[in-house]
């Protein structure tokens, strides 16, 4: 290995003054599981609100995809932007509230939207398939992995994406 060039600036190291060990002390004899339970109980109280948000966002997704289908190029671009925003938010929230399928489908939808620049009828059909899957989770309140129904929903989505070579 050749020696490194001498003209490369030497890194300057700075000690971190924010040592949090002075502020956060270990509580001996206790485990963090008790904190997790407290935190999860607080999140659980927001679950109903999430379910309502999910319903509203499903309506907005449907509205946007209908606009994308019907709109001109500018209207379609605006609708795609709206679809991306909602699917991005849902993928970040679903799993926290016990709806990992929402996160998985949302993630797949964001990746599909990001991977395409032009949205004509075939692309919009695939976006709509994602929206239908999220709406199905919301309408039938599919929690967790959804068992057989969840696998069927994801499987159908993967089959559609595979068909166009866009599986995520």
């Amino acid at each position: 290995m050749a020696p490194m060039s001498d003209d490369k600036p030497k890194p300057e190291y700075i000690d971190n003054p924010h040592n949090l060990q002075t502020k956060a002390k270990v509580m001996v004899g206790r485990t963090p599981e008790e904190l997790f339970k407290l935190a999860e109980a607080r999140v659980e109280k927001l679950k109903d609100e999430f379910v309502q948000i999910l319903k509203k966002e499903c309506d907005r997704l449907l509205d946007f995809i209908n606009k994308a289908d019907a709109g001109d190029a500018a209207g379609r671009a605006a609708a795609i932007k709206g679809l991306r925003r909602i699917s991005h938010e849902l993928r970040g929230q679903g799993g926290t509230f016990g709806y990992p399928l929402v996160s998985q489908i949302g993630d797949s939808m964001v990746k599909y939207l990001d991977a395409n620049e032009i949205f004509n009828e075939p692309e919009l059909k695939i976006v709509r398939a994602h929206i239908d899957a999220i709406r199905a989770v919301s309408a039938t309140d599919i929690k967790g992995d959804g068992g057989e129904i969840g696998r069927a929903l994801l499987g159908e989505l993967m089959r559609i994406l595979d068909k166009v070579g866009a599986a995520t």
């Binding site: 290995m1 020696p3 490194m4 490369k8 600036p9 030497k10 890194p11 300057e12 190291y13 700075i14 000690d15 971190n16 003054p17 924010h18 040592n19 949090l20 060990q21 502020k23 956060a24 002390k25 270990v26 509580m27 206790r30 485990t31 963090p32 599981e33 008790e34 904190l35 997790f36 407290l38 935190a39 999860e40 109980a41 607080r42 999140v43 109280k45 927001l46 609100e49 999430f50 948000i53 991005h88 938010e89 993928r91 970040g92 929230q93 679903g94 799993g95 926290t96 990992p100 996160s103 949302g106 993630d107 964001v110």
Partner: protein
């Protein structure tokens, strides 16, 4: 590691004296993060809906950890990280920053790391995964390093004493 094992075996820390700033443009996500942090014992939680509001907090308030979403518009979490690390007049230029994103690709992890974040956390967030990042910051504080094009926590987390291969970093040559 299985999801349910995250956090297992960690020590319990009293986080009540920590000050944490949540930055997210989504109000419901801010509420969720607040509840998770409160459940974990953090009592001083500030919230900002955008990077510009956040940077004002960071300059003026004692903050121990900033937890920022990446994908905010029009300015992103990365812009906030760069602003914080560049603010020479700020008392919190070296504050710990946890970057949250739903798009946790290898490339994004690298981009975030190279912008000067301390930890990266994939959404959806759980109490366990967030606690694990906070504990990492507490137990393994890193030096900051300034090079020609980088200012942030040393990207080498731990020195591998057993490593016997070639050393390529400029400071390794000393």
């Amino acid at each position: 590691m299985r999801f349910e094992d995250i956090g297992r075996g960690m020590k319990l820390y009293d986080l009540s004296k920590l000050s944490v700033l949540i930055v997210d443009d989504n109000k419901f996500m801010r509420s969720t993060m607040f509840q998770v942090l409160y459940g974990l014992g953090v009592r001083n939680v500030m919230q900002a809906q955008d990077p510009n509001t956040a940077i004002a907090y960071v300059k003026d308030s004692p903050i121990d950890i900033v937890i920022s979403d990446w994908d905010m518009g029009p300015r992103s979490g990365l812009d906030l990280v760069r602003d914080i690390r560049a603010a020479a007049d700020s008392q919190n230029r070296l504050v710990s920053i946890i970057m949250l994103t739903g798009n946790a690709t290898r490339r994004n992890v690298t981009v975030a790391r190279d912008s000067g974040i301390t930890e990266f956390l994939a959404k959806p967030v759980s109490a366990q995964s967030l606690y694990a990042r906070i504990v990492e910051i507490i137990e393994n504080p890193r030096q900051f390093v300034k090079t020609g094009d980088y200012f942030g926590p040393d990207r080498r987390r731990k020195k591998d004493e057993a490593y016997e291969g070639p050393k390529r970093r400029s400071d390794d040559q000393e």
